[in-house]
Amino acid sequence: MYQILFYILAVLAVSGAFGMITRKNPIVSVAFLTISMVSIAGLFALLSAPFLAVLQLMISAGAVIVLFVFVIMIVDYRREESRRRVIQFGRVLGSAAVIYLVIVLALSILKPPFIAAPLTGEAFEMPETLGRLLISEFMIPFELTGVLLLSAAVAVILMVKRGEGERDT
């Protein structure tokens, strides 16, 4: 049962990713990306990491996809103009990604053993453990993310205000 589910989800994840980069219509691409993200969430669940699976669903398959759709709807995407530069850029980036993937896969096949992280145990994947870590050991970074969000908000306001000024003149 585990094996069957794993192969179904793995095939779905890879074919979703493949569909995403081969479609020309960005909305269809996003739909394929969603399939890929959801199947990866399923893989996490199979690996008995339910919390990670839920996070994957909520953030990657939920919030990020919605943002993608928003951007595609708002930005007038003219394919013909940007195609050449995008493709050139994509080639460079793609080959870099392939090299990276080969290295990672080679490493994990040839020298598989990870040292077990010190937190592994029954409670590791429970939201409670993560919550406790966030308010104890990683309290300061956690609080700092608040500052990070604030500075992002201020940055957006500064950029939008500039746009208004330009329209007036």
Partner: protein, 497 residues
């Protein structure tokens, strides 16, 4: 696992963090002020300027006050030792200078003073977190606080559409850096089970398992690439000249001085932790990166006809010089920190001065800062020309300036650690650098205005703002004073380790 909260002294922690928190408070005051004020109020610079300056000065003196008292300890993923506070003082002084030279630029741009100063303070706060970070996760979040503010500053304080391109490049490359950084962090956590720098230093030499060792090395390499993007080491530098040239001068100054100092100090901490014991792979990688950064950027700087672009490449060359220390960093931790802090101080002082001059030159003529258009500046504005020459000579490392001693201690430390060949490369790069640093000086003093080539020469009518004059005088004094009496500064740094 969770005992950290039990004996955790919040008041002490907040005290030591107060130099950085002051800036956050000042930023919050600015935000409230911007909500309360009407549209006309937003045009005046006095109030936001005063709040920003007050915050920065309070922060500086708080750091000065706590500097002798710090416990040399790690509290809740932040280091509090003297090196942190001296790094923080460098960053605050650089930010203060940027604020002082930006008044005219902001008036001409469409940005409000409130928003601009808020973001400058926010990015400075991020730099403080970067300097103090004892955990890679904290470091990552500090980097993002700084970078997000800087992206917006590059794009919105615009010279022209070039600024948008500069901002986009900076943003994309920052995104790449972040991705590499996160990947490296995951690999390191996976192989040794911690992101804490001091624990990494402890556990790294003890990894016996071959597989874990491979993953650890891979993680270190990824982090190195992430840092490489952020501080513009040569294979990852492509964004730097365009971004430095395309942003308006005060923002360039912030990027080239304060931001670089903060990330460089974090890189030093990371390097001392990751290469805590001598490692031959690390040695070769850092050796190669340092040599190629110095040589490539020197050769590229020769070809520049734009002063700002030339200084951008020169800043990459200086990064290469600083990397000299890292191949054998494990042999002499204290020496590395000492030479590095001294070099960073001199680097900041010289660059602030040079960019303060440029900011007055550009104020009366938009567009590129072509070196040809400096012709005859010595006749028209003798003091300005003399100041720019002084800073350029110091950047080149001529003797009676701070730049000479900084370079001297850097090379000395590297030679003590046995990297003679690399120092020879650095001396070659220095020799090349004399050519491109002296080119503007020659143009200013020995060429007539008529040879500009159709375009108006610079700074016929530029009126120096008193704040800019203050920055120029202070940095010129620092360059000369610490060039003649470097011992004062060295004693201060020696007491900081």
């Amino acid at each position: 696992m969770f005992e950290i909260l039990k004996d955790f002294d919040w008041m002490l922690f907040l005290q030591y963090l107060s130099p950085m928190l002051v800036l956050l408070v000042a930023a919050a005051v600015l935000m409230v002020k911007s909500i309360l004020s009407s549209d006309e109020d937003e045009l005046g610079f006095e109030v936001p300027f005063a709040i920003t300056i007050a915050g920065l000065i309070a922060s500086f003196f708080a750091a000065w006050y706590f500097w002798p008292k710090v416990p040399n300890a790690m509290i809740a993923t932040l280091y509090f030792d003297r090196a942190v506070f001296i790094g923080w003082m460098i960053v605050v002084m650089a930010t203060l200078s940027v604020v002082l030279i930006s008044i005219d630029t902001i008036r001409e741009s469409k940005v409000t003073y409130d928003g601009y100063f808020t973001l400058v303070l926010m990015s400075a706060f991020g730099m403080g977190i970067i300097i103090a970070a004892a955990n890679l996760i904290t470091l990552l979040i500090g980097l993002e606080i700084m970078s997000i503010s800087l992206y917006a500053l590059v794009v919105s304080v615009r010279r022209s559409d070039i600024s948008v391109e500069a901002g986009l490049k900076y943003f994309l490359m920052g995104g790449f850096a972040l991705a590499f950084f996160l990947m490296g962090l995951a690999f390191i956590f996976g192989s040794i089970g911690t992101c804490d720098l001091s624990l990494i230093a402890q556990r790294a030499p003890e990894i016996s398992d071959v597989g874990a060792r491979a993953f650890y090395m891979f993680g270190i390499a990824m982090l190195l690439i992430g840092f490489g993007f952020k501080i513009a080491i040569v294979p990852f530098h492509a964004w730097a000249p365009d971004t430095y040239d395309g942003s308006s001068t005060p923002v360039t100054t912030l990027l080239i001085t304060a931001a670089k100092v903060a990330v460089m100090i974090a890189f030093m901490r990371f390097a001392l932790a990751a290469a805590g014991t001598f490692d031959i792979n690390w040695y070769y990688v850092m050796w190669g990166l340092s040599a190629i950064t110095m040589l490539y950027a020197s050769l590229a700087a020769i070809r520049q006809y734009n002063l700002k672009r030339m200084l951008a490449y020169s800043s990459i060359v200086h990064t290469g010089f600083m990397l000299l220390l890292f191949p054998s960093a494990a042999l002499d931790h204290a020496g590395v920190v000492k030479a590095m802090l001294f070099y960073l101080i001199s680097y900041v002082v010289m660059n602030i001065g040079a960019f303060a001059v440029i900011s007055t030159l550009v104020a009366d003529s938009s567009g590129e800062v072509e070196i040809n258009r400096l012709a005859g500046l010595a006749k028209r504005r003798p003091l300005l020309a003399a100041a720019l020459s002084l800073f350029l000579l110091s950047l080149a490392g001529f003797p009676p300036t701070i730049g000479f001693f900084a370079k001297y201690y850097l090379f000395l430390t590297a030679i003590k650690n046995g990297d003679v060949a690399l120092v020879v490369v650095a001396i070659v790069a220095s020799a090349i650098s004399i050519y491109y640093y002296l080119k503007p000086v020659v143009v200013m003093y020995f060429r007539d205005e008529t040879e500009v080539g159709g375009k108006a020469p610079f700074a016929n009518s530029a009126v120096l703002h008193p704040a800019v004059v203050a920055v120029l005088v202070l940095s010129a004094m620092a360059v000369v004073f610490f060039g003649v009496f470097p011992n004062n500064l060295i004693e201060l740094i020696r007491a900081s380790i």
